[in-house]
């Protein structure tokens, strides 16, 4: 009974509200909507990686202190990496300490000119030759191409002589 009275009371309003059912979006709207939704889902999936980068960039932009800290950390990391690279390069040198031709080429070797002549060098056996287990004979030490410069320093007396 109560429901019937309610229905009668709102009958005109119900008719008026029926008008809202007839409000329609532009023609063809529902034909294209699913494609828009699916393409947005697809583009969202593909750009999720880009979003991470974008998020990081925004973070750096909004909080410069984080940007500074990141830059310091990156520089430190590059420094450490280059240092360890240099160390490992030194440890894998192909020349044994005394057979390095560049070392031998240094003019600071305190050897006499007679010893440095090619004939004298070739006649001497390599000191490492006996102990080496390497089947390939090590490169023979080459004589220096430069003679050692021995400058003679003579003190000069500038005191005036007594005439």
């Amino acid at each position: 009974m109560n429901m019937d009275r309610e229905t009668q009371e709102f009958e005109k309003l119900r008719k008026l509200l029926a008008l809202k059912r007839l409000e329609m979006p532009p023609q063809g709207y529902f034909d294209t909507l699913p494609d828009k939704i699916i393409s947005r889902i697809q583009s969202d999936e593909s750009s999720s990686d880009e979003n991470l980068l974008l998020l990081f960039w925004r973070l750096l932009k909004n909080k410069p202190i984080i940007g500074f800290a990141t830059a310091v950390a990156l520089i430190a990391l590059v420094g450490l990496a280059s240092r360890s690279f240099n160390d490992s390069e030194a440890s894998i040198s192909i020349y044994p300490p005394h057979n390095n031709p560049w070392e031998l080429a240094q003019p600071s070797h305190n050897t006499s000119l007679a010893e440095n002549t090619p004939s004298a060098q070739l006649s001497q056996p390599s000191p490492d030759a006996a102990s080496s287990t390497n089947p390939v004979s090590p490169a023979e030490s080459m004589p220096s191409l430069f003679q050692s410069i021995q400058l003679k320093v003579t003190p000069v007396n500038y005191t005036p002589s007594n005439k």
Partner: protein, 216 residues
Amino acid sequence: MKGGQPQNKTDAISRSSKPEDLQQQRRQADDIMLVKRAKNGDLGAYDELVRRYQQRIYSMIYNMTANHEDASDLTQETFIKAFRALKSFKGDSTFYTWLYRIAINKTLNFLKQNRGKIHMSLNSVDFNAEHTPEIVALVSEKNPFRDVSLEELQEKLNAAMLKLSDKHRLVVTLHDVMGLPQEEVAKIMDCNLGTVRSRLFYARQQLQAYLSDYLK
């Protein structure tokens, strides 16, 4: 196996008597299959779900916002959010009830954020509207409707709807405009039937007061 319980969904469908119920149950079974496929990344299945429910979701949002552009954006966002959240859909409710809830949450949040900034952008009334029996009855009676155009009436009606609180407008939209049964409205709004009825009664009274000049 407990006595009286259907063995599976097909049994449940075949035992239903009303053809509408039968159709609805088949539809729900289809939804479950489509949701399962969409969960595994089948966008074709999700496209089918979008096609099934786009009009209802759009209509609900449009009647809440009275703005086509906002309704269009929110409809798209609803379906995108639903796709992302599909993994969390356990099937405790039907898919469309779950979808309605997402749409309602999105719409209520939007209305809250844009309080006082809402402007109407109404869709035009369907060309055949004037031939609809209810509208014919409405304009042929001796009442002020005869003196106002259909567009003007539409504008007054939407303005009155916007004066209602969001929750009251939602009940009127779901029940009086979209024609959902009160039990369904209660499920969607996650409240009891008594709440739906009292909100509906209050909302209708309010509307009647706002539109008194047109309802004499």
